[in-house]
Symmetry: C2
Subunit: 252 residues, 2 copies
DNA sequence: GCTTGACCCTCACGTGACGGGAGGCCGCAG
DNA sequence: CTGCGGCCTCCCGTCACGTGAGGGTCAAGC
């Protein structure tokens, strides 16, 4: 099976220029040429291109790709295995980034200042304990609370009061359900978990079930959020987290 | 809180040169300068840098990032929400890529030729039904079977015969267990699923439990693999897939 | 058998996002 | 007051292509 540059380009989702470039630097030279000088690619070339595309997607420079592909000690199957590993690693990193985004969203919502290392730790290369006075900035957010209300530009003072009232109303009803002794996966607790989700959605950002369960885990893991909920009522954090999970499962 | 270029660079995992560049193009200009002309970044700058880093990681060009960050219609929380969506989308794409790698690995193992669109469909931009005679190349692999044995360079003829014998032996014993009527999650079936995994690991590539269950799903989804196993014994594919899953769970 | 339009070729310069060095101030620990 | 690490501004280099310019090729249709 032979293919022209155009066909290969279209199939692989690259431009013709890219294939020319790969030919120029001898990363992927077509196995032959026609009498008129047209490039002819065969199945083996496509296989090589597939490996190249995956390595590229993983961020490898072309020179390095050429080196590892032309290494005679590595057989083709090993490349696939390697790419599988690299990809799952990459997925893990992106999931951490998702968690970091959720952290940033909740920090906004609760008016908590993030430290620089919290903002960027998912990008690696952070050298811990270089910010000695972390605790200060970490909790300094409560000081900024009143004035920062103005920072969420589109809300007026009365909006904030209504928001606060709704939150407190929800808190009272949630504590009542909790104290009534029903389990966290009861219909009542789940209904209030759902209300919690909709409260966030209405006031801050569209909170999917996926994000919501992410938040629940974060409340348990991060002492600042735990503190926020434990201050309402001891044991509330764990109970809420369980109710959120149960609610998300039941709606799936 | 004020930071110097070096501090910001170290925290955010970028170089000082990058921050200079962002300043040059007015993507991220420090909120102030010292008397000596030193750049001074504050917390708001870091917040902006966090957004920039995420958008960059997602592949946005700097100019576009500047445009969306400076769009007054978009509030900060919306950016986070947007990045959350983009990230989860990206994760989904990478998971498809992982599946495609697993497909390529199994295709190698079973000597099945992949079509160009199968190699590259995860990269998008494929225009279907442009390869009309797909079916021919799809199944053309069986013809190439005998001669392609030589292509897996490091194996000699006797290696292949031993491999084949081991495979057939496993197949006979698996059919026996299946016909004995025990469920697919019985100890016997799971033991043979485990043997299947180790057979792949010994002869082709290191097959983790994760990959193994990925393969099981593929056997059910892709008719070529289904055909391979159904040819051994009808109903084997589904039984094997279930046994593989049960085995993977029990070892976790 | 000749045109026409889609596709191919080789230069060759342009671009985005920085890397890296030169040459020279700044600031604080000893 | 003297290092020495950190900061500054040019400014050229690089990588992976993008984007024409100028020109040959090929199958389809008239």
């Amino acid at each position: 099976m032979a293919y022209t540059v155009g066909q290969v380009a279209k199939a692989a989702g690259v431009t013709v220029r890219t294939l020319h470039h790969y030919d120029e630097i001898s990363l992927l030279s077509p196995s032959g040429r026609t009498a008129a000088g047209y490039r002819r690619y065969d199945d083996a070339d496509l296989e090589r291109l597939q490996l190249i595309r995956y390595y590229r997607e993983l961020g490898f420079p072309l020179e390095e790709i050429a080196a590892i592909l032309d290494d005679p000690r590595v057989d083709p199957a090993a490349h696939l295995r390697r790419q599988h590993e690299l990809l799952t690693g990459r997925i893990g990193k992106l999931q951490e980034m998702v968690a970091a985004i959720e952290l940033a969203m909740e920090a906004r919502r609760m008016n908590i200042n993030l430290t620089p290392e919290e903002r960027f730790e998912v990008f690696g290369d952070v050298d811990p304990d270089q910010y000695a006075d972390e605790a200060e900035r970490r909790w300094g957010g409560s000081e900024a609370y009143r004035e920062s209300n103005r920072r969420v530009a589109r809300y007026g003072k009365d909006d904030w009061l209504r928001n606060k009232a709704e939150n407190e109303d929800w808190g009272r009803r949630f504590v009542a359900v909790m104290d009534s002794g029903v389990p966290a996966d009861s219909a009542e607790a789940m209904a209030l978990a759902e209300e919690h989700r909709q409260l966030i959605s209405r006031w801050f950002y569209d909170c999917s079930y996926e994000i919501h369960t992410g938040l629940a885990d974060m409340y348990l893991a991060d002492e600042r959020f735990t503190a926020h909920y434990e201050a309402i009522h001891p044991g509330l954090t764990a109970y809420l987290a369980e109710a959120i999970h149960a609610n998300a499962i039941s709606r799936a």
